[in-house]
């Protein structure tokens, strides 16, 4: 059996190290963060409220036409509510970002988005069919009547088609063919779709037409989420930009295709950024200004300095290597739930895959741990992919932490070097560790499976994985 774990040669001599105070415990009361379960409960409660709205307003139903129409009304209500939830998930609400994490929010949004688009289509079909049955007309003529003579239905139908279009463009098969830029801009059409479809809810929606309280409640819901979007995605970044005035200080090539960018600004400590977190960066340079991309801090935040390290994977990241010092930067954040606040055990294992080393590098430096309690496993496909080797070894030496480099493609190695058996063998007392995992989505889920098999409790596994 080949051992592919290369232990960094300089560790295993426990020395007094940086931040040797290792008292984990309940996380200090920091900025508020919500638990994922709480968020899901709130969302479910809202859906129940929407259903109750229908329940309260519907005396009784009989006959196929009534059944179809009311099923259409229910799906319509849930779709109208679902849209609000989807937008709220993406509104960058700080408690959600800190407590649930941007990657999990994005996954929920994707799943919920597919479901809501299906609800919209089902609603349209059921209403048309139900009306046709009740009025004893054909479906085509009924659809025509709905589009032409019912107020706002034509607009809503255009909105529905936009939803479907955006949904199709976000499917995995389409994403592979589309440039990120194109997909990103297409996705904004959802706002237009929502605006188009909103009025028909009140104009022809049975639950709203005759009930002012219902209209007030529903309108209030939409208004709140719109306000949140405005505040957290437009006003707050603008205020932060004016306050911190971030600029690029230097750009350094770490390895072929990997650059570190150091960004400076004023009053950066007010951001309360922690190791393991990321910002969404918008560099005001040609070709880079139109999108904000998330990059983790690759070093703990220092007064006046933030460092990110980026691997050139696409147009955008390539362009970062050509950034000029002095370029203005807009940063939103900090975001990310992968911080020391998550930790509950004395011993910690950090597993980084490929570009996932960046937040781990920062945590490796500042996570409170006694000598011998902290381990970092750095998985890379090729030796050239390994970055920060010197920094990591220096930190391991200073902190008395263990450092392993696991290099090589799985096909070449013949087996999974991060299998449950290997992990258990290499890391004594694995089930008493908190494990932080960060890497590409495939690797992360595979490692998590192996960790669970090796006896690590789900509560002690903290991970972040992005698919963009």
């Amino acid at each position: 059996m080949r051992h592919n774990w290369i232990m960094s040669s300089t560790t295993m001599a426990p020395r007094h190290g940086y931040l040797a105070t290792g008292a984990p415990g309940p996380s200090p009361a920091g900025p508020p963060r919500t638990q994922p379960a709480t968020v899901l409960t709130v969302i479910a409660a809202g859906a129940l409220a929407a259903i109750l709205l229908w329940w309260h307003q519907t005396p009784s139903i009989h006959g196929l036409g009534d059944w179809l129409t009311n099923a259409g009304r229910l799906t319509g209500l849930l779709a109208g509510y679902g849209v609000v939830v989807l937008v709220a998930l993406m509104a960058r609400l700080p408690p959600l970002e800190r407590g649930v994490g941007a990657d999990q929010l994005a996954r929920w949004h994707a799943m919920g988005g597919r479901y809501t688009v299906c609800l919209v289509v089902t609603h349209a079909l059921l209403i048309t069919w139900g009306y046709a049955v009740t009025a004893h007309t054909g479906i085509i003529s009924q659809a025509n009547a709905l589009l032409m003579s019912y107020p706002d239905v034509l607009m809503a139908t255009v909105g529905a088609l936009l939803f479907v279009g955006v949904g199709i463009s976000s499917a995995r098969a389409a994403r592979r063919r589309l440039r990120y830029e194109t997909w990103y801009y297409l996705h904004f059409y959802t706002y237009l779709a929502i605006a188009l479809a909103f009025s028909h809810q009140f104009a022809v929606g049975a639950q709203f037409m005759t009930s002012l309280p219902a209209r007030v409640f529903w309108g209030g819901l939409y208004a709140c989420v719109a306000a949140a979007i405005l505040w957290y995605r437009f006003v707050t970044p603008a205020r932060q930009a004016a306050r911190h005035r971030m600029r690029v200080i230097s750009v350094r090539r770490e390895a072929p295709g990997v650059v570190s960018v150091v960004i400076g600004g004023r009053h950066l400590q007010e951001l309360r950024a922690e190791s393991g977190q990321f910002f969404r960066w918008r560099f005001l340079a040609r070709g880079l200004w139109w999108v904000s991309s998330p990059y983790s801090l690759s070093a703990p935040p220092e007064p006046g300095r933030l460092r990110i390290t980026v691997k050139a994977l696409g147009e955008h990241s390539h362009a970062l290597a050509r950034l000029r010092p002095g370029t203005r930067v807009l940063a939103e954040g900090p975001y990310g739930a992968l911080t020391s606040a998550m930790r509950s055990q004395r011993r910690v294992l950090l597993i980084a895959g490929g570009v996932g080393i960046t937040p781990m590098r920062a945590l490796f430096q500042t996570l409170p741990a006694r000598p011998g309690d902290l381990t970092l496993v750095y998985r890379a496909s090729e030796p050239g992919d390994v970055v920060f080797r010197d920094e990591l070894e220096r930190l391991a030496r200073a902190r008395g932490a263990r450092l392993f480099f696991v290099v090589g493609r799985r096909a070449d190695l013949g087996q999974d070097p991060l299998s449950a058996a290997t992990l258990r063998a290499r890391i004594p007392g694995l089930d008493q560790h908190d494990v932080y995992v960060c890497g590409p989505a495939g690797m992360t889920s595979a490692v998590i499976r192996e960790l669970r098999t090796a006896g690590v409790h789900r509560r002690h596994i903290h991970h972040e994985s992005f698919e963009f």
Partner: protein, 172 residues
Amino acid sequence: MRRVILAIVGTAAGLVVLLSFKTHSTSAAATPPAAISGTSGTSGTSGTSGQASTPAGSSGGSSSSSSSSSASSSPSSIAGAAKTVTGTAADTIYGPVQVQITVKNGKVTAAQAVQYPQGSPRDQQINSYAIPVLNQEAVSASSASIDAVSEATYTSGGYVTSLQSALDKAAL
């Protein structure tokens, strides 16, 4: 894939459950007419019917609208007589709806929309179906707790409002 199937089946099942809860006959849902004999005028025993003529099949009858309301204020001493009451017209975005009912012994024996939107072919098509249904329901329920006709949401809303006003005038 498993999640997709779960979502589809779960949604369909949820819809079916919710809809079945609401599926029962109208008579059970409608509020039974309260004891009317105690209220104005008509004392308990139902006498033989007096005038029972209801002006049926009117078209835009302005004549009947004049015969409104005084029924409630003056306790009519004619027991068991049928009286015709017209409610105030209720406005909908397609036009006003006005309902006239004939009340006898505390029950609605006939209902008729004397005014309803007929401006466009669409209105005529819908209401030619919806109005008779609403009339029939008003008689069965003897109250304004009737179901809207799915396709004629506006007309139904106006019908119910006007019907309620007619019932109020008839002190039902």
